[in-house]
Symmetry: C2
Subunit: 313 residues, 2 copies
C-alpha cells in the first residue's frame, strides 16, 4: 500500500524545500491563487486551472473508458445528504442553503436589518438543497434499485464544500473532487478500492510527486464520531495518498471502501439481489495542483519535461 517515487533532482532539492508558510507566500505573490476575502475560498488563476484541468484529464485517463462520466453541480438535494448520513456524522462541515420565501412585510424587515447591520439572514428558510460535500454523493441516488451484473462504475467530478475555515492554502472550503466510484458486489467494491489506490498512487508518482499511502479516517463529528473513526481505521476502510505541500504532508487523494453504507441508505441492490457495496477513489484536484506547484516550482514552463509531457501531451 505504499509507493515511493523520487525524481533524483527533486528529492535533493527538497532538503532546501520551503516551509508551507514560505510556499504560501510565494504562491500568493505569484497570483496563482488570490484571496477572496474569507478563509478557504480562493480565486484561481489561468495557471492554476491549466494544472487542475490537466490533472482531471489524467484521472479520466485512469478510468480507461470503463466509467460513465458525469459532472455534478455544487449543490445537492437536502434529502440526499440526509440519507447519506452526512448531516449526522459531519455536522460541523455541512453547508446548508437558506433562501427568502417571505412576504413584502418580511422583505421590509430584511431591508431594515440590512440597514441596521444586524443579521438579515435570520429571516431565511432552509431550501431543499445543501452544498455538496463529496462529488460521489450525487451518484448513489442514481443507482437506486437493482444494478446490472458487474455493478456500475461512475466517474464524477464537481465542486464540494466543507466548512473548515483556515487561512492555509491547502485547506479550501470550496474545492474540486474527481472520483472513480464503484457500486456492486462486495468483493468487487474492495478490489476497486485497492486497484484504484495503487493506480492513483502510480499516477501521482509519474507526475513527480513523492506520495505515500497512509491508513486514515474521516473526520466524524462529536462523541459518537470518535467511535466511528476508530471503527473505520480498524476496518482499514480508508487510505489517503499523502504528498508534501511545502513541508506539510497533505492528503491529495483517498481510496474509500464504504461497505454497504450507501447501498443500504439508497436502496441499491446487486444483480444477485443483495445490498450493494461501494467504494470510491477520490482526487482533490486543487490539492494535487498545489502538491505539483510545491514539488516542481511556480513556473509551470520550467517543470521537468517528463511531467509536462504527461500533463499536456
Amino acid at each position: 500500500m505504499t509507493a515511493h517515487v523520487t525524481l533524483g533532482t527533486r528529492e535533493q532539492a527538497r532538503d532546501g524545500a520551503p516551509t508551507l508558510e514560505a510556499f504560501s507566500r510565494q504562491l500568493l505573490a505569484s497570483g496563482i491563487l488570490s484571496p477572496s476575502g474569507v478563509d478557504g475560498v480562493w480565486v484561481r488563476s489561468a495557471t492554476f486551472e491549466r494544472i487542475t484541468e490537466a490533472v482531471q484529464r489524467s484521472v479520466t485517463a485512469l478510468g480507461r473508458g470503463r466509467y460513465e462520466t458525469i459532472q455534478v453541480p455544487p449543490v445537492i438535494a437536502r434529502a440526499t445528504l440526509e440519507r447519506a448520513g452526512y448531516v449526522r456524522s459531519f455536522t460541523d462541515l455541512v453547508g446548508s442553503v437558506h433562501v427568502f420565501r417571505g412576504s413584502d412585510q418580511q422583505h421590509a424587515d430584511l431591508l431594515r436589518r440590512c440597514d441596521a447591520g444586524t443579521d438579515w439572514a435570520a429571516v431565511l428558510d432552509p431550501a431543499d438543497v445543501m452544498l455538496s460535500s463529496a462529488a460521489c454523493h450525487h451518484v448513489y441516488p442514481m443507482c437506486a434499485g437493482r444494478l446490472p451484473p458487474g455493478g456500475r462504475r461512475v466517474e464524477v467530478r464537481g465542486e464540494c464544500f466543507r466548512h473548515e475555515p483556515s487561512s492555509q492554502v491547502t485547506r479550501h472550503r470550496s474545492f474540486r473532487m474527481h472520483e472513480l466510484v464503484f457500486v456492486g458486489e462486495p468483493v468487487d467494491a474492495l478490489t476497486h478500492r485497492d486497484a484504484g489506490l495503487a493506480e492513483g498512487l502510480e499516477l501521482l508518482s509519474t507526475l513527480g510527486l513523492t506520495v505515500e499511502a497512509a491508513a486514515a479516517n474521516d473526520p466524524f463529528f462529536g462523541r459518537a464520531g470518535a467511535i466511528l473513526a476508530d471503527g473505520q481505521r480498524q476496518d482499514a476502510a480508508k487510505y489517503e495518498g499523502v504528498a508534501p505541500v511545502g513541508d506539510l504532508p497533505t492528503a491529495i487523494m483517498s481510496a474509500n471502501y464504504a461497505a454497504e453504507h450507501f447501498g443500504a441508505a439508497f436502496a441499491i441492490a446487486t444483480a444477485g439481489g443483495v445490498v450493494a457495496h461501494s467504494s470510491c477513489v477520490a482526487f482533490g484536484l486543487d490539492r494535487v495542483a498545489l502538491a505539483l506547484l510545491s514539488a516542481h516550482g511556480l513556473d509551470v514552463d520550467r517543470w521537468p519535461v517528463g511531467v509536462r509531457q504527461r500533463l499536456w501531451q
Copy 2:
C-alpha cells in the same frame, strides 16, 4: 443590435421543431441531463460537458488574450454580495450558507431533530459565505483602489446559484456563467458592452443559433425593484441574446452596463481618479449548450460540420 443567422436546413427544420416540453422529454430520455431529485439542479453527462467546455473555449477565444483569466468557486464572501447590493435587490434569488457552530448539547439537539424529522437546519448559523450569484461579483473586490490606465479586463467563469425553482430544463438554479468584464473609464465601459454584445451575438450565430438581441432588465425584487427594473430599461443598460430552446425564446447571453454601481460599492477609481464604471458580457454556458442541442439535435456527432469544426477544431 440584432443578428439573424439561418443555416438553411436548420431553419426549415424549425417549422417542425419540438415544443420545449417535447425537447425536454427527449433530452432527459437521452441522459444528456439527469434529474438530481430537486428542481433546477441537474447532473450533467459527458456529452453535455463536451459542449459546455467547447463553448467556454469559444468565449475565451472571443477575449483574444486581452483579459486576465480567473476561475471562481461557487461561494463568495457574504460581505461581497452585501456590498454588491445583491441581497437587497435580488432577495428572493440568493442562497445563504448556514453552518453548525454549536456545542455538544446543541449537536444532541440537532440529532434529535434529525430523528424526529423536524427542522434540524434551524439550529445553524449564517456563515461568512453565500452562494455566488454572478461570476463577476468576485472581480470587483479584486479591483478595489486605483486602476491602471485603460482600466482592467477580466475573463471570469464559475458556477452560480439563483433560487428560481422550476422543473424547466432551461432554468437551472445552479449554472455556469462565463463573463468578460471591464472596469475603467465610463466611455470605455459602454464601448466594451456594445462591442461585446455584437461579438457575442456573432459568435452564437456562427454556432448556428438563431439569436436576437433584446432590451432587458434584471429581475429586481419587490416594490422598489419594479422601479429599478424600469430605470434599467429606460437607460438601455441591459441587453440579452435570446435563442430558442424548443419553442421557448431563452436568454443565453447578456451584455450589461452597470455604470458606477460596482465602482462606487467597491471603491474602484480610474487612473484619472474618478469612480470607475463597469460592464460585463455574460454567457450562460448551460443555456448555450441547450440552445445548441435544440437547434442541431441530441446527437452531437451529427451536428452541422461547420458548427462542429468551430467548437472542436
